[in-house]
């Protein structure tokens, strides 16, 4: 992703992070890998955007961070989705669907 901190991109990144940790709790590195994987290598999130986003999400109470131990026996901070976060994710997904379908519609118009 480019370095622009446009509102749209910020909100979208938040939503994508929520999606990424929907099933499992993840640490920062794992999250960046997962995001790359989910986007089939198109999106490469900068750490300078990821960590602030994680902080933001934690402030809102949508994810929770806790210290844990990784498979390689390393101390890492894991982020998991909270109940409120789950709800937020659903709401944001719905909003995104409406938004993108409307824009697509408008682009198809003559």
């Amino acid at each position: 992703m480019t370095n622009e901190k446009s509102e749209l991109l910020q909100g979208t990144l938040d939503m994508l992070i929520l999606k990424a940790i929907e099933r499992d709790a993840m640490h920062g590195f794992g999250l960046s890998q997962r995001l790359r994987e989910m986007s089939r290598d198109v999106f490469q999130v900068e750490m300078g955007s990821l960590y602030p986003a994680l902080c933001r999400l934690e402030a809102q109470g949508w994810i929770k961070g806790a210290w844990g131990v990784s498979d390689a026996n390393r101390k890492a901070r894991y982020y998991s989705l909270t109940a409120a976060g789950r709800k937020q994710f659903q709401a944001e997904t719905a909003r995104w669907e409406t938004l993108s379908s409307t824009i697509n519609l408008m682009l198809k118009a003559t």
Partner: protein
């Protein structure tokens, strides 16, 4: 709830900064290691893996920076950072800091002092329960309807007269008939002579109804307050004193409760002390120290005046609204009640130039109900103009101080050029630098504000002592409440930003390339322009203040030189008033003559006399109306005097004769001595001896003029001499109200001591009060002008000093900066004298510009003091010229030293240091 949670989250870094930072570092470190490992697994060499991981992660510091922005309150971090840096910088240059803080302290302190007065007089509410629920009553009527025993003043919003006092019956009627008020109470303010702890003094006092304290919601700090039981005829005589009186007289001793004090000649028991801060609800500046129940009033009135009590308008009435009730409802419900009690108690007093009222068809007065949260307010309104004027003066001083500090900051900014250039080059945003500089200036202003607060308390008292509201000394508490503190904070903040912004912007506008390429070149012209502009501003404002001072000083001199028509030097005045509460067996006025003779016989006394109304006091202003030939009626001043009056005052008698003992007999035909103005106005000629006029249109021309005296001023100093008539002192008067005038030679103290002794011999119980000289009495007439002259002079001088110091600093600095240029000039052949002249010329051009602009400003500004001036026009060229010369002279002196230093520059040294 979410935003609250978010706020808490953001506040955590304040307290757990270290922990959060450490955790983030660990987290990022872990990320780096995992990325490195992944790369290793993918087949890279260890160094390449690490490099790739580092590249992918990006800069740790950048990540941390952006994380911090999300995590905490970045602006708070910056603020704390800036503050610490600012404190360090200010400590490095103590001289600069001291000068700046001092200038600001003077400016802000003066403003705070004035504002605390404004607060106390205009804004503050009574320190009682829910002052917003209080109601004050007054009434409106035609000018010719006089309330007996009271007075009415012109209402500013209509052409009628208003009066805040009512009859006692009105108070009782209101109490019985007020559905919208939960409390109705009244009070009568009077000076009382109180003998407490062995000595007698005059104190501010009042008679209050039983529910006075309850209605206000004022509690007792000790003992109890007045209740309805105390306000019954025949109840025990009690008094409640104020906290300040308790501290002053009894030292705050709790045993004061129960002590007996003698008010007038009535012993009363002190039963309580009101809470601190409550000084009654009378006119601003009148502090009520002793409160007695209204029922005690008859004991302080002479027996033959007792019937006047219910017929006099002297009670101020206030009430407390019930919840939900409005002022309009209250007024409407009580107007009928008021008018019913007022009927028959208003006198019709015809006045010249005012349409007469048909006695059979007197229009009823209108009741008004106004918010009572500030008590009686007529005086407050009167003082508004004076206060705003003073506020304007101190604002000018603050602006001068600001301009001074702005220049100082600018010079400092130039000195710190290198530091700013480095920081800008390292990537600091200009906004960040400016913000930091602003923090420094606001910090300076805050320090100045704190010091100013300390000055302000003392300053407010000093200001009051100058009597800016006229001759009465007002007793005003100037507490440091939230409004004053808020004002000081706001002024300090605004000042910091005002004088800090421009220098901050200028100092950070740097061309980095130039700076680092050996930028000892003179800085841009814009910086000098700004400094020059500030100097011009200072000079202009100083000129305005000094012009005001000059005009007022000349006004004072003119006052002193007015020919009052009599010899005002060496005249001692005092009163043998019978104050309320002094009741010895009444002495007929025949006692006055022996006193006068005794006084006249004293060594060092060249003459003594007495008069009914004291000249130059308000008493003589309320004159009378003379009816001449029943077709003309003129307003004239009058006074009742003894036959030695003209001789003692040295007013020549031009025609006719003086009063003789025959005129003073009871029942003798009425006579008068009039002045030339009277003669010309009423009769058109000076040959009036033998003519007649009257005081009462219904009784005809009963008064015969027996003498013509030369014009003399008895009240006003301005304008034409008003017509005046003297009549013999009323022998039928049974009260002892008399003003004595004694002409003495030699020392005033000796004469005073002799007079006191003489009177004590005749009657030891007569209090001699209000002792002053005629000159002092006349001076009181322009006490306000005098106080403003003092204020303008003081602040003008202060501003002049600030501007002179600022000018010295500015020119010194410029000489320093231009050392190279001057060196070149001298190397090329310029003489030291020429250099001196050049510096002087440039500086004085600046000052001259300031003078011209200041002159233009003054022309507009003197409009505000025009009402105070006397005998000198607001645009008097002489005053303006003198002040301009003074400014130029001071400026020359201030510039001389640096200019001489410039002239002494050795060209070789200058050029080498380039």
């Amino acid at each position: 709830m979410n935003s609250f949670r978010r706020l808490l989250f953001r506040l955590q870094p304040l307290f757990f900064k270290k922990k959060i930072e450490t955790e983030l570092s660990e987290e990022l470190q872990a990320h780096l290691e995992m990325a490195t490992e992944a790369n290793l697994v993918a087949g890279m060499s260890p160094e390449a893996a690490r490099q790739a991981a580092l590249r992918e992660l990006g800069g740790f510091e950048q990540i941390k920076e952006r994380y911090r922005d999300e995590r905490g309150l970045p602006w708070l971090d910056y603020l704390v950072q800036d503050l610490r840096y600012a404190i360090r910088q200010l400590r490095k240059t103590p001289g600069f800091t001291a000068v700046a803080v001092l200038s600001l302290a003077l400016g802000i302190g003066a403003n705070t002092a004035v504002f605390s007065l404004v607060n106390a007089v205009l804004l503050a509410e009574l320190p009682v329960k829910s002052p917003g629920q209080l109601v004050l009553f007054n009434w409106l009527a035609e000018e010719t309807l006089m309330p007996r025993g009271g007075y009415a003043t012109p209402d500013p919003n209509s052409n009628k007269y208003t009066c805040p006092a009512f009859l006692l019956t009105t108070l009782e009627a209101f109490r019985a008939n007020a559905p919208t008020l939960s409390d109705v109470f009244g009070f009568v303010s009077r000076d009382l002579y109180v003998n407490a702890e062995g000595s007698t003094e005059a104190v501010g006092g009042q008679f209050a109804s039983g529910d006075y304290h309850r209605g206000f919601g004022v509690a007792a700090a000790a003992g109890r307050v007045i209740t309805a039981d105390d306000d019954q005829p025949g109840a025990e005589a009690v008094a409640v004193i104020s906290d300040r009186y308790w501290q002053r007289r009894f030292g705050g001793d709790p045993r004061a409760i129960g002590k007996v004090i003698v008010v007038g000649d009535v012993p009363v028991t002190v039963v309580g002390v009101t809470a601190p801060g409550f000084n009654g609800a009378a006119q601003v500046g009148y502090a009520v120290d002793v409160t007695l129940p209204l029922a005690l009033l008859p004991r302080f009135v002479a027996a033959e005046h007792l019937d006047q009590i219910p017929n006099s308008w002297w009670v101020n009435i206030m009430g407390r609204l019930k919840p939900g009730a409005t002022l309009e409802q209250t007024r409407a419900s009580l107007e009928g009640v008021f008018q019913a009690t007022a009927r028959g108690h208003l006198e019709v007093n015809p006045l010249p130039g005012v349409p007469a009222i048909d006695p059979a068809n007197i229009p009823l007065p209108q009741l008004r109900a106004v918010p009572g949260g500030q008590g009686l307010y007529e005086m407050r309104r009167k003082h508004e103009h004076a206060l705003l004027l003073i506020m304007g003066i101190v604002t000018l001083v603050l602006l001068v101080a600001c301009a001074n500090v702005a220049n100082l900051l600018l010079a400092r900014g130039t000195a710190r050029r290198r530091e700013f250039a480095v920081r800008l080059a390292l990537g600091a945003g200009r906004a960040r630098l400016v913000r930091q500089l602003l923090t420094e200036s606001v910090l300076l202003a805050s320090l100045g504000g704190i010091a100013g607060l300390l000055l302000a308390w003392w300053g407010a008292q000093a200001l009051l002592a100058l009597r800016p509201f006229g001759s009465g000394l007002l007793q005003i508490d100037t507490p440091l409440d939230w409004r004053v503190l808020g004002f000081t904070t706001a002024v300090a903040l605004a000042t910091g930003i005002v004088f800090g912004l421009a220098p901050a912007l200028r100092s950070t506008r740097l061309n980095l390339t130039e700076e680092f390429q050996g930028g000892a070149r003179s800085p841009g012209g814009s910086r000098s322009r700004f400094a020059h502009a500030m100097m011009v501003v200072q000079v202009a404002l100083t000129l305005v203040l000094l012009v005001g001072a000059g005009l007022l000083v000349r006004t004072l001199r003119n006052f002193h030189q007015v020919d009052v028509g009599f010899n005002r030097e060496s005249l001692l005045l005092f009163e043998l008033l019978a104050p309320l509460g002094w009741r010895a067996p009444l002495k007929p006025v025949a006692t006055l003559d022996p006193i006068r003779e005794r006084l006249a016989a004293l060594p060092g006394v060249r003459g003594a006399t007495y008069e009914y109304r004291a000249s130059y006091s308000w008493q003589v202003r309320g004159g009378g109306v003379a009816y001449v030939q029943t077709t003309k009626n003129e307003g004239v001043g009058r006074n009742e005097v003894d036959s030695s009056y003209l001789a003692t005052l040295e007013i020549p008698l031009l025609r006719g004769r003086n009063f003789d003992p025959h005129d003073h007999r009871e029942g003798a035909p009425e006579v008068a001595i009039v002045n030339q103005a009277f003669a010309k106005k009423c009769f058109g000629t000076e040959d009036v001896v033998g003519q007649r006029f009257g005081w009462d249109p219904t009784k005809g021309a009963t008064v015969e003029i027996v003498g013509l005296m030369r014009d003399a001023r008895h009240y006003g100093l301005k304008g034409e001499v008003p017509p005046f008539a003297l009549t013999p002192y009323p022998r039928s008067s049974t009260s002892l109200d008399a003003n004595f005038i004694v002409r003495f030679s030699g020392s005033e103290a000796t004469a005073l001591a002799g007079a006191r002794a003489a009177i004590r011999e005749i009657d030891a119980s007569l209090p001699m009060t209000n002792v002053r000289t005629q000159v002092e009495q006349i001076d009181r007439r322009f006490a306000q002008e005098r106080s403003f002259a003092t204020l303008c002079s003081f602040f003008g001088t202060l501003a002049l000093l600030l501007a002179a110091v600022g000018l010295y600093g500015l020119i010194s600095y410029q000489v320093l900066r231009r050392t190279g240029e001057i060196g070149v000039r001298m190397a090329l052949g310029a003489l030291p004298a020429q250099v001196l002249r050049m510096i002087l010329r440039e500086s004085l051009t600046l000052v001259a510009l300031g003078v011209v602009i200041g002159g233009a400003l003054s022309v507009g500004a003197t409009r505000w003091i025009a009402s105070l001036l006397f005998g000198v026009p607001a645009h008097d060229p002489v005053t303006y010229g003198c002040v301009a010369l003074l400014l130029l002279a001071v400026a020359t002196v201030a510039c001389l030293l640096p200019a001489r230093r410039a002239a002494k520059i050795a060209p070789m040294v200058a050029l080498r240091s380039e």
